[in-house]
Symmetry: C2
Subunit: 303 residues, 2 copies
């Protein structure tokens, strides 16, 4: 997601500083804009990192540790998903910069109504959810105390080119994982009965939403779902990918993931209303482009 955002910002004529420890990202993804950006290869959770950041007008805080591994490495989750937010708040305060924070729609837990809007109760099921939500609360406290400019975007399940299956970090986004299986002809694994649903949103739509949120004065101090409002079951997704590839792979079955959410479906009406958020790439369309990219770019390794 970071590299897509950087390309977008550079294309609009912005000077961009990228702060990334490359634990999940890859320099290769930045090759088109490498000469236009300043790269700080640093860990955003360390206070020493933020002292290296110079003057800036805006911060897109995308650093993230995966939900699925948060019970396995909960202290690291605190560092990446909360401590780095605190650090970015300190930078925002120092330079009077606007902060866009990427939270996650998983903080709502299981739906009490569908689609879930921003007023839906919060129910944190994993350390990841708690740290994302705590980041939002920290932002709220700082905004109130120091009149910071900030906007929170709660992302649904993002997919698209350059997304990595990172076994070391425990990052196995469902679309990338399945597509990799079809490219490498390995059986996909479905955890649980496969009837759990996801609200799958294409990375270009998310990036467009983040930039719109940043540019909207009306959005300041608010939280917005960046989602499609459409739910797709894991089984259905597998069938759709199978259709694009024109191959059938017999899936293996695994146990349900801990802290998994049964129904994910999030309203984006608030973002539509306040900053004209749009879903330009529905799954049926975007999946074809993503598969085309994956066929060229994914080798036999899935990592």
């Amino acid at each position: 997601m970071g590299s897509h955002l950087v390309e977008n910002l550079v294309a609009e004529g912005n000077q961009v500083i990228v702060l990334d420890d490359l634990s999940n990202g890859s320099l290769n993804n930045l090759r088109a804009v490498r000469k236009d950006i300043t790269l700080l290869r640093l860990d955003a959770s360390k206070e020493s990192s933020i002292r290296k950041i110079g003057k800036l007008d805006g911060i897109f805080h995308l650093a993230c540790h995966p939900r699925s591994f948060s019970f396995h490495r909960p202290a690291r989750d605190v560092d990446v998903n909360l401590r780095s937010t605190i650090n970015m708040l300190e930078v925002a305060r120092k330079h009077d910069a606007k902060l866009v924070f990427t939270s996650n729609s998983g903080i709502y837990g299981e739906p009490q109504h569908v689609p879930m809007d921003e007023e839906h109760p919060i129910d944190c099921k994993t350390p990841y959810d708690v740290n994302k939500y705590a980041s939002e609360l920290q932002i709220r406290a700082f905004v109130k105390e120091f009149a910071l400019k900030s906007v929170v975007c709660r992302l649904a399940s993002v997919y698209g080119p350059r997304q990595k299956v990172n076994e070391k970090l425990g990052w196995r986004p469902v679309v990338a994982t399945f597509v990799n299986c079809f490219v490498t002809r390995k059986p996909p694994v479905v955890f649980g009965d496969g009837e759990q649903t996801r609200d799958l949103i294409y990375v270009k739509d998310v990036v467009d939403g983040l930039v719109k949120a940043f540019n909207s004065e009306e959005a300041e101090g608010e939280a917005f779902n960046l989602s499609t409002g459409v739910e797709t079951s894991v089984n259905c997704l597998l069938q759709m990918i199978s259709d694009v590839f024109g191959i059938e792979l017999h899936p293996e079955r695994g146990p349900p993931s801990i802290g998994d959410i049964r129904h994910m479906c999030y309203s984006n009406l608030k973002a539509q209303r306040i900053f004209k958020f749009e879903v330009k790439y529905p799954l049926s369309v975007a999946l074809k482009g993503y598969v085309a990219w994956a066929r060229v770019n994914i080798g036999h390794a899935t990592g």
Copy 2:
């Protein structure tokens, strides 16, 4: 608070391990029980510390970074007030130990009704509040996922012997700060108009409550205020201390503290009902004992 709890636990025949980096505590406070305990002089927020902890049945997690300094050192606040909770959850999980966590009643923010009970909405005004509340949510997520035994105690404003005014850490508890002023004959400083109130609870009542909470099966998975339900304004407290000393000191005035709460008054009925929590030392009684202690033990230095 830690040393009072340790004395209580040792007197009941328990084997006690004390984990403390002594950034605010003092070895001197443990002298009566020094030979009965194992002391690990370590920082609870570091993962390396928890590997040094052996088998145990229960954990009282009291490590804390002060609310008043949390906007000044928010990253350190994350470490002490949240990361250390994660570490204690890991220890609790490993040894199947019961965890008592000391949260803070400040997480309710300003009252929507008085006294505030455990169902009162949460409104986190400072990084400290967010990290205490996030600790509670982490505990809830771990309890649900791993069937841990745990209880959360939300403490009101604790005071009593051995409490330190720690300028380096920004820890200036109101009772200790005022009493020190009277002992050293320095003018006390009242921040704001002094009509802000506190629910002041004596350390021995809190320790008694923590042990009762630990011993109660019915309390598991729940949160309890440990408070008096009585509010005392800062001006009134100053007058009460003045009366005990028999001295008038003309207070200086300072600006209101950031993130300060105007009315603090918390119901303890739930703790009374579930584990027979009692306030045995009302302020008018306990203050005399505390002042007697302070006259002997507080020198000319207030640090």
